[in-house]
Subunit: 181 residues, 2 copies
DNA sequence: ATCAGCATGTAAGGCGTTACATGATTCA
DNA sequence: TGAATCATGTAACGCCTTACATGCTGAT
């Protein structure tokens, strides 16, 4: 029955908080959601069109001449809210992880160990940058945690911090092991 | 130029250790690699055929009548080895993570917090099972670590243990936060 | 004048999953 | 006899990315 396109759920979830445009949706994904899900314009705009046909969202073309190009604000419908809740209540969840870094490491015996060390160091740099950002989010969120809505964002940030700190510990440990070879 | 199909690299990596069949490749992926990459028969067999045409692998149909159906053993070619090494030496690596669990949690404010708690508990159960397995792998590997080849497997197992332990800490912490709401 | 950012959308094509088709052997 | 496992492969289909097309506004 229901198609399994998760980008639909991302969109419905964001629209459940407030009306926004496809462009806003992309910005939101890139801001907080990117740590555990991704989405491009090429998937967002077609999804919005398909969901409008299915009456999960609707739009009223904004005609405020305040400048810039036309902005199409989408809003979630009752049917859309129902679809979102059904998905949230369904216990099944697929976590699909693809670490090319780990894949390269697994086959590292085909090349010199210095190559693998460099690959881990590259991975480490990206993690360090994101971790700084996540800690900033956490500190800000802790000042406004009384607002119920922020708790869910807060928890996902804690997830990022916990896993990223684990990544860093592993990077140091594994580089040390490879250096001793 | 080179297509970016990572399943090719998984296959080349496995064949760089020993000749094997498509079926064996699948078993290997499901055993150790599944923690950071996946692959189905529907991608493995076509990939083998395409790579044979590109002369990255070759096969000699086994005609031992020892029973069972025909088994086609593939072996990596010199060109295949070169392709594998080029990929390993290329510093770029894409880690694409899709946590549906986190996505549901992020939008948890649309439903009762007991739903989110149940979703986290479900996630926790899967992690616990895999963690037991990973610790078993680690203990076994530590007895044969002198063999160079095992170090790379060992390090990826340590990665799994480090991140999975982080997941468990986070599960407990976040359930506690949600219970207090 | 030009570039970056805002904003919407389409087209081509790659990648991968699921389900199906086929068939042998082993074990209860 | 029937189920499970071994074993290879195809077909349909879905999802997503990249690149492209278009055009406005504001800052340098």
């Amino acid at each position: 029955m229901a198609k399994d396109r998760k980008i639909d759920m991302v969109i419905l979830g964001l629209l459940s908080h407030e009306d926004m445009t496809g462009y806003d949706i992309k910005k939101n994904i890139d801001h907080a959601i990117r740590f555990f899900w991704k989405g491009s314009f090429g998937s967002i705009y077609p999804a919005l069109a398909a969901m409008e046909k299915d009456e999960l969202v609707s739009h009223k073309a904004q005609e405020e001449k305040s400048g810039g190009r036309e902005r199409i604000f989408y809003q979630i419908t009752e049917k859309g809210r129902k679809t979102l809740c059904d998905w949230l209540e369904d216990r099944a969840a697929v976590n699909d992880l693809k670490y090319e870094t780990l894949l390269k490491l697994f086959f590292g015996s085909s090349v010199d160990s210095t190559i693998s060390i460099k690959n881990i160091e590259e991975f480490r740099r990206g993690i360090e940058d994101d971790l700084k950002l996540l800690r900033l989010y956490r500190d800000n969120l802790e000042t406004i945690l009384n607002e119920r809505d922020h708790v869910y964002f807060y928890i996902t940030v804690l997830f990022g911090i916990e896993t990223y700190e684990g990544y860093l510990r592993w990077c140091d440990k594994s580089i040390e092991i490879l250096r001793k070879m």
